[in-house]
Structures are given as C-alpha cells and as structure tokens.
Symmetry: C2
Subunit: 252 residues, 2 copies
C-alpha cells in the first residue's frame, strides 16, 4: 500500500487527508499541521507539528499556500523522496532539488465547511521522472476516476479558467443575492435557477446554453435593467458582461 | 379541472405546455403556435395558428417575446377572461384592458433542447383581482411547490438578479471553456468544478462560498493570471471581476 504524508492543513490539505483516510488503497501515515491540532478528524492520532517528526513515506504532498511551497520543501528533513505540491499556479521546479519533484493538482473548489466527494474531481499530474508518474497515478486513482497528465502551461491556464468557472461564477451568485436582498426577496428563490444553469452545461455547450437579453440583443430589457440598478458598481458589471456576451453573439 | 390555453410556442411556451400536459390537475385545451407546427409534442392535436380558433378556457397564458405581449393581448378575440403574461420585465398593465390581467412568471432558464423539471421552479404570481390570484395559485401548484406573490418592482429586480445568476454565470463558463480550448484541454475537465460551485450555495451563502485569489488578495496569482491571458477582452473581464470581489472583501 502506498504510504502518504500530507504537509499542510488548509482547505486542500484537510480535504485530501480526509479522502485518503477513507480510501482502502493508500496508507495515510501522517498529516503535518503547524498548530498540531486536528481534533475532530479520524486521523488526529497521526497529526504532527514538527518537520523532524515526519516518518518514511512513498509520497509527501505539500498542500500549503503558494507563497509557502518553496520554503516548506526546503525545510523537509530528507532527500531522494517523491515530493509534490498541489498548486495550480506554481511550476514543479519550485520544489527543492534534494527530492524528486511532482505536481498533484485536484481541480476543485474547497471550502472549510463543505465535504467533497473526490470521485468525479479531475486530478492533474506532472512528474520529473516517468516512474514517479505511475506512483502519482495510483494515488490519484485511489480518489478519483478522472486523471489528466497536464503540463505546467496547461495547468496555469486551467487555473485561470477555474477562476472564471468557479470564483467569478460564485461572485455572480453574490451580486444576484445582493439584488434580491435589496428588494426583500430571499436568495433561496434563485437556487433552482442556479442549479439548472449549472446542470445545463452537462449536456449543452456554454454557447448553446446561453440565454438572456444580451444574447438576444434585447436592448429594451438591457436598458430597463440598467435603469433599475442603482448601485453604480452593479450597473458597471452588468454593462461590461453584457457587452462581452454581445461580442460572442457577433461571432456566431 | 382548470382549462388552460397557452399562446406562444417559444422556449417558455413549449416547456409550459409540456409540463401542463403531464399534470393531471389542469386541462391543456390548446396551444397557439404561429407556424401551427408542434409535430413531436403529445399535444400536437391541439395546436392552432389562428386566434379565432381559440376555445373557451379559465386561463390564457401569453408566452411570447416581451415586444409582442401587448399586441398579442390586443388581438385576442374575447373579453372578460383571465389573461396573463410570463415576462420578468413587463408590468401586468401592458395587457389589454378587455380581459382580467395577471402575471405567471416561472423563474428558470429554458433551452430548446433541455427538458425542465418544474417541481422546484419558483413561480411568481400577480393578479389584478384577488379571486384570480387563487386561480393562478392552483395552476402554479399543478407544476411547482414553490409559489411567490411578487410585485412588479420585485419581479423586475428578480429578473435582473436572474441575469447575474444565470446568463452571466453561463458566460463565465463560456470564457472558461475558451481558455481551456486555447490550451488544448477539453471543457469536460471543468464540469465537476462547475457542479460543485453551484452545489456549494445550497448550504453556504455566496459570501461563505467565495474562494480564489481575489478574495484571498493574492496579488502574485492575480498578476500571473493577467500575464497569461493574451486576449485583451478576457484580461479586462478578469481585472474588473477581481476588483469587484476585492471590494466585497473590504466590506468584511
């Protein structure tokens, strides 16, 4: 069984640790948490807070903030081991050269209070050495059925693309929620619409799924919406995103 | 059983007609389609293309484009009947005064090639006469468990809010899809992320669910993303939406 240590206990670290702990295919040896505290987790007996306490493993997954990946990899008290980071933005090369390098990037949005089912989550892998790719592939397949060999250039682009698909999308929800609140309506009224909008692109392309006044070039409705939005900030975003959809329309 | 005629055979008209046809609680008397053609639908024997052929019913639902609602309602060859439109943007008063007026606004995104389960869809109602509200409520409850009494001001705001939550969200998917395509990755790689992003707001508020470089104020990642985006249009949108998220951050 492949032995794994997770280094870092932020959103990615704790979700990965929980998922590996549930998998019968890997052995979660330790989880490094700076505070040493992981009380409510089933692996809390294996949480350490000193790098010198790290035990032998086949794979060390550094799941810390981008800014800390380099220094953490330099601090690891061993060499010749397989060490990967989980960042969408950093090159594999940022990892310290004493160990074998790789990347284990799960493409998902992780929130503290929301459990993740990893089985559909794409896991994007990269390794310095071909033999290490096989280890990463085995570990990834313990979590997910969707594994991709992705270059750094692709991974960086994927990360930007994920910002649009997830972070910016969630901000659209936030803006919609604000407008509802300003008119005494509960955000809940929008939830079926949000669910269906996401569901549509399981079977339609985003081009096919586009609806609304911008794609119909319905200037009367657009003008009425702009008039209704009193917040200059909301109005500005409405205008810019509408233009962006209308640009798409011209390409059709 | 309440007798209904649907006037209009665009996305909303055909989805409503299909849903009413399936419901044992209402009687779909006729569907008016300008072309007269509804061949593959189970109600195709009741499709008409002349207003003079409209039979007696308890409710006439005018599901045509906003621009056509007024003239269609003026063309109806009867008076004293309950006639509603399905628009998120138009006042009830736009309907011709010979008939009793109301609004039947299902808050959902309708696409030609994607069936809709109406049961969770919020249906927003308004009527001139209190007794007519009861008819609308009965008809709405034949489709959905989620019925709202919504004023025109609220409905207009809800429509704008739906543009953000659905149309603009779908455009975020489109931009993400473009970036993937530009780097030889399939759009499918983003689908689990999109599904999870929508699923998160079932249990978290959009504020709680927000992740990504903008809300973390991670300027290094933001700069790297802007550098990677070669399309000036994508870059511009990235910058504006990032600033908008950062504005939210300052309010926290």
């Amino acid at each position: 069984m492949i032995k794994i240590c997770i280094i870092g206990f932020g959103n990615v670290g704790r979700h990965l640790a929980s998922a590996f702990e549930r998998s019968p295919l890997v052995d979660l040896v330790q989880v490094f948490s700076r505070s040493g505290n992981a009380a409510p987790f089933p692996f809390s007996d294996r949480v350490i807070s000193k790098f010198d306490d790290l035990k032998d493993a086949d794979l060390y997954i550094v799941a810390v903030s981008d800014a800390a990946v380099e220094s953490v990899s330099e601090t690891l008290p061993f060499s010749g081991k397989l060490v990967v980071h989980t960042s969408g933005s950093l090159p594999m090369e940022i990892l310290d050269g004493r160990n074998r390098k790789g990347v284990f990037y799960p493409l998902q949005t992780f929130s503290k209070n929301k459990d993740i089912d990893f089985s559909p989550v794409p896991i994007c892998l990269e390794s310095e050495i071909a033999a290490d790719y096989e280890i990463l592939e085995k570990v990834a397949s313990a979590l997910s059925g969707d594994i991709y060999k992705i270059s750094f250039e692709q991974r960086r682009a994927l990360h930007v693309s994920a910002v649009f698909a997830s972070n910016f999308t969630n901000h659209m929800y936030k803006l919609a929620s604000d407008i509802c609140a300003q008119h005494d309506m509960p955000f809940a009224i929008l939830k079926p619409l949000i669910a269906e909008t996401a569901k549509k692109i399981e079977t339609l392309s985003p081009e096919e799924a586009q609806t609304g006044p911008a794609i119909r070039d319905d200037q009367n409705t657009i003008d009425a919406h702009l008039e209704l939005l009193s917040d200059i900030h909301q109005k500005n975003l409405y205008q810019i995103i509408t233009s962006s959809i209308q640009n798409e329309r011209k390409k059709l």
